[in-house]
């Protein structure tokens, strides 16, 4: 049992636009027991669409297209789909009513161009799109399922969640889901971890994907049976315990907030080179306000002195990028916000600002807990974005390490 995803869109091939739909659909379809066999991205061109459908429909139980349904796109892709399945298109009044009602809700007249969206191939089911105007489309031939989804992620996800899941589950009630379990690590490279946890030791029936993230590594175990996967997880937990900070859908920020919440602790931040990214990661988590009070982005030296309250002396003697300044930043923001814990980050993200003693990528972290404060220096590689990202996650992962009592 497997699925194929066909992504339609010139813009995906001309670059700059990142396709996030496959990552979503891949995980969801694996959960339903219909893992994705392959996925192809093609131009918005009738011949390319029909060729891709030919290959996919011959090999897969489920074929999904994404994209090519928007109001400004010509109808080429919908027409090519209809033609491939040997269907005529008709103007569906219900869809047209619905499209108009969506515009009316926003006190707008429906642009004539949106009439295209009411064209539906015969024998196709309309999957109403509450998040936009282009409907999803569904067609079934025996036990084979076809779906045409929107390219806009939020619309595509809505159609998947509200229609496709049920249709697939009803059609394939005995499909065996792919079980996936992830261990999140921090502090060791992929090769080092692979030395501690050898592939040969993996129980039968489990596959392992090593997923290096920026500055940390995830181990994803997967297979069709839970028992050997759990065995593999236990084994990994025993071999690489000091480097594990979380499991499955846990994020660094989510894990940190949970640890703080459990102890009724609160957190504040003082960021320089990460410029708000750590606080953004923390507030990505809904309910962050239980433990996170807020903080500062003390980007300029004046801001560090006048608003955060770092002494001129520290800045003059050690500089803003120093262990002393990092520690003081954490202590000051903790005092100002009356939090129980605080983190600070100050460093050189580049591309300018590096010196002989302090190269680009040099970052100092300050931590203040109830009764102590400390600092850590790290040197990160990569460009500005990568250095800032790694530093932001490092700040969170280091406080997690301390709260979890790992060394």
């Amino acid at each position: 049992m497997n699925a194929t995803i066909i992504n339609i869109g010139n813009e995906l091939l001309l670059g700059k636009t990142v396709n996030t739909n496959v990552a979503y659909l891949g995980a969801e379809l694996a959960n339903l027991g219909v893992p994705v066999e392959y996925t192809i991205t093609i131009k918005d061109d009738p011949i390319a669409i029909k060729t891709a459908l030919q290959n996919a429909w011959g090999h897969s139980d489920i074929v999904i297209t994404t994209g090519g349904l928007g109001p400004t796109e010509d109808d080429l892709s919908k027409a090519a789909i209809a033609e491939f399945f040997g269907k005529q298109m008709y103007f569906n009044d219900d869809v047209w009513q619905y499209v108009q009602s969506m515009f009316a809700m926003r006190n707008m007249q429906t642009p004539p161009i949106n009439r295209n969206q009411a064209l539906v191939p015969d024998a196709f089911t309309v999957l109403r799109n509450e998040k936009g105007t282009a409907p999803g489309l569904h067609y079934r031939e025996g036990n084979k399922l076809f779906f045409a989804l929107q390219g806009v992620p939020v619309e595509m996800m809505y159609i998947f969640e509200f229609y496709m899941k049920q249709i697939i589950a009803e059609c394939y009630p005995y499909a065996k889901p792919v079980i996936q379990k992830t261990i999140h690590t921090h502090g060791l490279s992929e090769s080092r971890l692979a030395e501690l946890f050898k592939l040969e030791e993996l129980p039968e029936g489990v596959s392992l994907a090593w997923l290096p993230q920026t500055g940390r590594v995830d181990l994803r175990f997967y297979g069709y049976d839970i028992a050997p996967i759990e065995q593999a997880i236990l084994l990994a937990e025993c071999k690489i315990a000091p480097y594990i900070w979380g499991l499955d859908n846990e994020t660094p920020a989510g894990t940190l907030l949970k640890l703080l919440d459990e102890q009724n602790d609160t957190l504040s931040l003082a960021e320089s080179c990460t410029g708000g990214w750590v606080q953004k990661m923390i507030t990505d988590v809904s309910g962050a306000s239980h433990s996170f009070l807020g903080g500062m982005v003390a980007y300029s030296n004046d801001m560090k002195i006048d608003v955060l309250g770092i002494s001129d002396n520290i800045l003059n003697t050690y500089g803003a990028v120093s262990s002393e300044c990092a520690t003081e930043m954490a202590i000051r923001i903790k005092e100002l916000t009356k939090s129980s814990h605080a983190i600070s980050v100050t460093g050189i993200a580049g591309p300018d600002g590096g010196t002989a003693e302090k190269s680009i990528g040099t970052v100092y972290f300050g931590f203040a807990a109830k009764e102590r404060s400390w600092s850590i220096k790290q040197i990160f590689s990569g460009d500005r974005n990568s250095i800032r990202h790694k530093a932001s996650e490092f700040a969170i992962l280091e406080l997690i390490k301390s709260l979890q009592g790992r060394k």
Copy 2:
């Protein structure tokens, strides 16, 4: 002249991992005049790899694989590539020396598993990877080029930038680059823009892709000749002028910083619901420190009162999510940091916290300029992440609008 990209990796099909390599390679290859015809993502499986190579090598001038070269991956994919091209693999001592030197630089012993990375198919050129241990590989047959690249973006980009570009340019000196020009808009939906700027008006030889972003729309014009593209841009600039904030690689934050810098103005921020995201966007831009001083994430009410200095009275009378509080936040952070301009954001990002009067997605923005302050209310749709993202960009785009004098 065209290229095909084959992405190898089970993790890309099992979901959760987003493939950003195609977006990078697609844009770069179009620039070199070898646009991507299609891209396929397959399992790390010898038969799938050989089938994909068969199809691609038959149709494309350039075939690129990404992934399957890491130290913990078994050699299946490299072996499958060698087999497809009818080559033996040999142990390359230079590569092995280099891999060992990379580990030595980090004061580490080379794990034996990394010996795999020194296996190279006969007649393939090694493309040394300064960003990691797995080398890139290159093979040429007449005018057809094959490249095996790493899956890790920073390594893949390095190999592309330092080797592939030159190899491709030398092999296809007359390839005509695809010219792409982008207009960035804000404030109108895709359908509305399409009413103002009709596809029929597009000059011959120009294609247009509508790229809806979160909360804004990009128009990408592309083709092989610059003249009709420039004509199309002029036409668009005349039809939809009030909604255009930038061109090509400009970002909202970059444009705002440029405008501030030109006038020797400075900026500070006070964020609540966006939790640092606006400041993160601003500091993504290198050189942001010329105009950006810093700011606060005033997440808790205590932080708003005690550190930012909002009066209890405002919070008690109007609440933290109000026009009054937004304006006050902007004025206060402007005073504290002595900036010439300030932005504030306060709202309900959800999923909790919505009320009958103030639903989830309600966000107030405060602005303080040299001699005036004002506030704007917006209601955004979507989930927490989407609301926060739209609100962060909106804050920046609104100040741009005011500085550009658009209405």
